[in-house]
Symmetry: C2
Subunit: 205 residues, 2 copies
Amino acid sequence: MSANESRRRRRDGEQSRSAILGEAARLATVEGLGGLSLARLADTVGMSKSGVFELFGSKEGLQLATVDSATSVFEEHVLEPAANANGLARVHALVEAFFRYVETDVFPGGCFFASALTELSMQPGPVRDRLVAFLERWLGELAAAVREAQAEGAIDPAEDPDQLAFEIEAALFFANAGFVVARTPEAIERARRTIERRLGAATAA
Amino acid sequence: MSANESRRRRRDGEQSRSAILGEAARLATVEGLGGLSLARLADTVGMSKSGVFELFGSKEGLQLATVDSATSVFEEHVLEPAANANGLARVHALVEAFFRYVETDVFPGGCFFASALTELSMQPGPVRDRLVAFLERWLGELAAAVREAQAEGAIDPAEDPDQLAFEIEAALFFANAGFVVARTPEAIERARRTIERRLGAATAA
DNA sequence: CACAAGGACGAACGATCGTGCGTAGTACCC
DNA sequence: GGGTACTACGCACGATCGTTCGTCCTTGTG
């Protein structure tokens, strides 16, 4: 209902919307996507609770819009920096962009999707579905880069691209958790070492 | 305060306490440790809200006790099955015990600590501190097993035990997330492959 | 310029949250 | 076996939650 795209929107409303969503995604990595409250969100952006509410129709509408907003942020900070690289270089570029995305506090509580998916994976509904879809898309992105690297002869064709994508993402996922906990580059450094070593072993003979 | 061990406790209270805590830990992996409500917890165990409350003194007291309870469950299901193994066999035993612990739904929402730590890593306080301490202890357990394996000559002494523990835990951590999302052995199977391969590469020449 | 429509507001709602209090019942120690 | 202290309860509190409503203001269109 709130996701009805045919709804006409004024320019000022669109600005408020995106300002709210940016703050919502940031807040969600600290308090959780479910623990996010309309009232707190409203006064961190300097609006009334009902004003925020009406822009999204319901809390679920706000959550869905927040996931979409976070998706754009992820695309901008992780996918785009690797947009011009191909094959093995693309794998490295995606990994390094992800590290930067975590280290530079794009979201104060680390990767938005790591926390949101963990929080909502046991709570059925459209929000969970959208988060799961994102994870699959991201894993697909990594696997596709691996396949590209195989096609260009940089990675052993005997490697299973999905398995390699799993291993890379596992390192990224835990690196994010470790960085959020310790606020230290150690976990990221270990993940980098993990991935470099694994990619080295996967290099075509 | 509620953790004051000098407080005398009756047998029936102790039974209620552990029954409540078992349910609390299970509920927390579904609704979150923060989203857990006294009222819902009370009537899933068939008690009054105030009855539950007084046993723990505060919500934070309940959360701390829940973490301790979940720690015991983890020890029982993961540490104990590997208690009699040493060195490399101990590493494998810990990993397999963890897989069983996740796959058999000891907690309905997967590993308690994976979800709780992700949820609370940005919320300072004693609960977070206890969860972080658990993670360090668990990583230390893995690293100690690796060192044992090096001492018995099963793993290359040039390997960094902490790095290896990081890589193993990364696979376990993401396997848990994947299993909770998909309810399929696929993620666990991939993690098993990841770890077996990595340990194979770490085998002393 | 006028008018339809979206944006933002304040106030209020029912529900639920964690917490405090007074009290009745009961297990355990001397 | 009596008395103390823990167990468990019902009730009520203030706060906060998501949501609804009526109203005023502003924007964009014809």
